[in-house]
């Protein structure tokens, strides 16, 4: 089995990709996906550390994360959908009605 540091590096890389996606992309859906990617990068870190230290704490936290992510996905997609119906766009820069 590969050493835990490999998993940690993979997790960090995935997280950075997610961060970059959130910061750089303008498509709301892509931003949303990037957030999911960050969540899952963290999940990966949790389970791998859980395995390495022989503790189930990390795995149980991952369940919570997945639950929250599922709920979030439902709400987030709902908002995106509603916004798209109103504004006919998924570009974050154009969704600026509340901006000063």
């Amino acid at each position: 089995m590969a050493p835990p540091s490999y998993y940690m590096i993979l997790s960090a890389v995935l997280f950075c990709i997610g961060v970059s996606g959130v910061l750089l992309r303008r498509n709301v859906l892509i931003i949303f996906m990037s957030i999911e990617l960050m969540l899952n990068a963290v999940n990966l870190a949790f389970v791998s550390l859980s395995r390495a230290w022989g503790s189930v704490d990390g795995q149980s936290i991952v369940f919570f994360v997945m639950t929250v992510a599922a709920a979030e996905a439902a709400v987030g997609l709902g908002i995106i959908l509603a916004t798209f119906r109103n504004r006919a766009t998924v570009n974050a820069d154009e969704i600026n009605l509340m901006r000063w």
Binding site: V19, V22, L23, L24, D93, N96, R99, W100
Partner: protein
């Protein structure tokens, strides 16, 4: 020595007059206002006369006192509103209230047709009240209250017809010029406190200052005296601050009489006489007072010779006569100065009231070139004015003879020959300009404009009666001080000696010889006036044409107003407009205020750039922060 007496009454009556005329005067009838206005001054005069009677019962140097209430108590420093009535104050109170009362009576006739009757009497009463406060005060600070009070009233009264911009300007001029002197006066008071305080003497009381006079060295005394004297040059119209007085005549004529005779201008002479113990410590200051007085004396007299305006001649005459008074107090002849102050109050108020009567009869005309031959039309005015003229020209036995003689003999016997000579020459000028005024106004051919001629009339009795009363004083007023050795000779000086000491001549001189000499000079001046204005009426015009430069110089009053304008007013206005207003106020202070606003706005505008409203930007900043914190903890762990 000091006996209690309700001196507050002397001030109370004029104060009642002020309050009454101010609040009730508009509704009360003119008669009531006139009676109250003159009556309260008369009441003050009666109280003053009673106090004078009590004072005569005391030994020389005695005084009546009355402490009204404590005023300032700051640590050891203590000033009361306290009054003191000694010989010097007695003379001043009687002159101020007595002459003031006559002027008030006259005013009720002179101002009869003016719309602002009550306001006029309010100011007049306040004027007398301030002057009485000034002379009754037993300390410098209360004296200063009166000092400022007369300054205020002169402003109010000179600018009485304030709708005329020129009159309002002249009122402001009087006020501001006086303010210059008053600033020095305040410094003088502060220096007195400062010097006294270094010796633990926290007082401004005249009696206490006099007791501890040894603590004042010659240098500090000189400083105090010079500062106070600068204040006096403002109030008493001496070089260099005399310029307000000639312009002050735009006020109603009784006001001029009040300013020139009873109140205001005599304040400076009184102040020097009151502080004689301080001035005697400083020969330098005395020398300055005498020199400034003498120069003013001859300077103003030469201007008076050419002025065509009847009131302007009298105004310069006042400046000149005040110069005599300062000459007297400057050479140490304090009682002579006060004596001349008193006789001057009689004849100068009479001269002004007569001039007012002439102006009244002429329907407002003041130019003597448009008068002449009025003697037959206004016999009472003419006669009384002649008496005043003889008094001011120092013709015996009229009042001015004795006082001017005393001053000149004081100047001579104290060894000031130069000043004495100038004073003597001025006596000639005095005769010249006064007789010129009389000849041009009352005698010779009438130059009155026809439309004014037919309603030319003598003034009503309410105006002529005060003239007669003052004329009587002009005749007998000088007899209180006959030359030493004659009947009750020197009684006035002896009466005053408790307050101002006795004049000690440095050398012997024949009083009679000096008197005859000064009389001869005066009469020469009068004779020249006669030749010029009665015998050969064309001569003045010819002479003015031949000596055009000198004539023009005198007519334009040595261009002093223009010089002051160029040297003082314009630079001040320039500084005010461009340095203070534009430079300091507009650009610096407003700049600071506006700059603060602009800075806040600009920095807000700059910081605003961070608030893009773009969530991704916030997230980036958040990320940077998070990475920073993580790096920090990592650094701590790794170390």
């Amino acid at each position: 020595m000091a006996e209690h007496f309700p001196l507050g009454l002397i001030l109370l009556f004029p104060a009642i007059g002020v309050v009454f005329n101010l609040f009730v005067g508009q509704r009360a009838g003119r008669t009531t206002v006139g009676i109250v206005g003159a009556g309260v001054i008369g009441a003050a005069f009666v109280v003053g006369a009673v106090a004078f009677g009590r004072l005569l019962g005391l030994p020389t140097g005695g005084a009546l006192t009355s402490t009204l209430w404590p005023w300032i108590e700051a640590g050891a420093f203590k000033v009361d509103v306290a009054l003191r009535f000694d010989a010097l104050t007695a003379v001043m109170v009687l002159v101020v209230s007595g002459v003031g009362m006559l002027i008030h009576i006259y005013s009720s006739g002179y101002m009869a047709e003016d719309g602002d009757y009550a306001r006029f009497f309010t100011y007049m009463n306040l004027f007398v009240l301030s002057m009485l406060t000034l002379v009754l005060a037993d300390n410098l600070l209360l004296m200063f209250v009166g000092w400022e009070g007369v300054g205020l009233c002169s402003y109010l009264l000179i600018a009485f017809w304030y709708t005329n911009p020129e009159y309002a300007y002249n009122g402001r001029k009087a006020f501001i010029v006086n303010r210059v002197g008053d600033a020095a006066f305040i410094l003088g008071i502060l220096t007195t406190v400062w010097v006294g305080a270094t010796h633990g003497l926290w007082t401004l009381n005249f009696v206490e200052l006099r007791q501890h006079i040894a603590w004042f060295g010659p240098a500090t005394a000189t400083m105090i005296c010079v500062l106070l004297f600068i204040g006096a040059t403002g109030k008493s119209a001496q070089i260099p601050l005399y310029i307000w007085l000639p312009d002050a005549m735009v006020g109603p004529t009784p006001v001029s009489a009040l300013i020139h005779a009873a109140t205001m201008v005599t304040a400076g002479v009184y102040m020097v006489a009151r502080l004689n113990f301080l001035y005697l410590l400083s020969p330098d200051a005395m020398e300055l007072v005498a020199t400034v007085g003498t120069i003013t004396c001859i300077f103003a007299a030469t201007i008076a010779i050419t002025q065509p305006d009847i009131k302007r001649v009298l105004a310069y005459s006042t400046i000149s006569q005040l110069g005599y008074m300062f000459l007297a107090v400057g050479v140490g002849a304090f009682s002579a100065g006060i004596f001349h102050l008193m006789t001057h109050a009689f004849f100068k108020s009479l001269l002004f009231l007569c001039a007012g009567s002439v102006i009244h009869g002429m329907g407002g005309e003041q130019d003597m070139n448009k008068m002449g031959g009025l003697a037959s039309k206004m016999p009472i005015t003419c006669t009384t004015m002649w008496i005043a003229t003889l008094a001011i020209a120092a013709v015996p036995p009229f009042a001015g003879f004795f006082s001017k003689d005393m001053i000149l003999s004081g100047a001579y016997t104290s060894g000031h020959f130069g000043l004495w000579l100038l004073g003597l020459i001025t006596a000639g000028f005095t005769g010249l300009y006064m007789f010129r005024l009389m000849f041009m106004t009352f005698h010779g051919e009438s130059r009155v404009e026809p439309e004014r001629a037919h309603h030319l009339h003598e003034s009503p009795p309410v105006m002529t009666l005060p003239l007669m009363a003052l004329a009587l004083l002009c005749v007998i007023g000088g007899w209180v001080q006959l030359p030493e050795g004659w009947l009750w000779g020197g009684s006035f000086s002896r009466f005053l000696s408790g307050s101002v000491g006795i004049f000690k001549p440095a050398l012997e001189a024949s009083d009679l010889g000096l008197s005859i000499l000064s009389l001869a000079v005066s009469l020469t001046g009068a004779l020249i006036a006669y030749i010029f204005y009665i015998r050969y009426p064309g001569l003045p015009t010819y002479l003015a044409w031949r000596a055009k430069a000198i004539y023009q110089l005198l007519l334009e009053k040595y261009y002093i107003d223009q010089i002051y304008d160029a040297l003082v007013s314009r630079p001040l206005f320039f500084i005010a407009q461009y340095v203070l207003f534009k430079g300091l106020d507009y650009y610096t202070i407003d700049g600071l205020v506006n700059g603060t606003g602009t800075t806040v706005e600009a920095s807000g505008d700059a910081v605003r750039r961070f608030e893009t409203g773009n969530v991704q930007h916030y997230a980036l900043i958040y990320l940077i922060g998070a990475v920073g914190i993580a790096a920090f903890y990592l650094y701590l762990v790794m170390r």
